[in-house]
Amino acid sequence: MPDWQKLVSQRLSGLALDAAEKEEVHAELAAHLEDFYESLRTKGLSEQAAIQQTQAQVANWPDLRRKILIAKKGRDFMKKRLHQLWIPGFLTFILSTVFLMTLQKLGFRPRIVGDGPNAILFCAPWLASLLFVGALGAYLSSRAGGSRGAALFASVFPVLALTTAFLLMFPIDLIVERAIGRQVDFSLVATAILREGIGWILVPGAALLAGGLLAQFLLSQRLTSRSVTGN
């Protein structure tokens, strides 16, 4: 008999519920599939046919995941997540990108630290702006009722997006280089990953995070002073 628990756990792995609740949902749905499968086998269906019919109980797993989440948390949960996470996150991403492009158009030259292939580029005005951008992301997320984690996620969202792009870019580049018959020097690739990682992810990420933490600190101070004055 197929491992229905494993199948459900895999298909619904991204269900945004707390661990215990998620486990319960997985166990309950797996039990349903198990009962359904066994009833088909009792009716005399072959193993293969029974598996196929049981699997047809769920035509679209991502849709089921979304429906379960809405049923358990309510429609407002999805709307809240949009306002607390995705809108502030994308706004920080857009602002940081637009600001960098504007600086480049205005002729700001990045500062070069190091020599030759190990040189890392830093654009100081951009990094300074990221403090503000990170703070803005955290502020918007907190204002929409976002948790501390959601606010920090919104702050550092641009570097998370960049990290994903980096992770995709390097393997693709390696495949392309091989396809066109060029020798790939892995030490050069590793150096490039490290160099670009520091210049475009680590340092900007730290600036965004610092901005986010600063905004959270200021917001918590304001809340404390409000609660003290009773306003």
Binding site: E24, A27, A31, H32, F36, Q57, D63, L64, I68, A71
Partner: protein
């Protein structure tokens, strides 16, 4: 075509009515509905559980884990007091709707 609102209403009425006879786990509930409606109403897993969870959030039903005689653990749903209270007006609404449709379409009573 039957709209999602009517479909949902029918499904909720079916679940509440079947649970009125006693607690059942999800699979058994779906099987009972299919049997009692002679296959007219059928629930796949994907249709059943989001509805059960939604009804549980509204406190119409309550689910708890129970171990059956075969040693298997299943989550059984039972009707709550709130669910029992809800059942009567829903039945009334559906009776009115069917009555109105029968008059309109002149379909003879089954």
């Amino acid at each position: 075509m039957i709209g999602p609102g009517i479909k949902r209403g029918t499904a909720e009425l079916a679940v509440l009515s079947v649970l009125e006879d006693g607690p059942l786990h999800g699979y058994e509930l779906a099987r009972r509905i299919e049997q009692q409606t002679k296959g007219t109403l059928r629930f796949t897993l994907a249709a059943l559980y989001p509805m059960l969870y939604r009804m549980e959030q509204r406190r119409w039903i309550h689910g708890s884990w129970e171990t059956g005689s075969n040693g298997r653990r299943r989550r059984c749903y039972r009707l709550t007091a709130e669910g029992k209270k809800k059942l009567s007006p829903i039945r009334q609404e559906w009776a009115e709707l069917f009555h109105a449709l029968r008059r309109l379409t002149k379909v003879p009573h089954a």
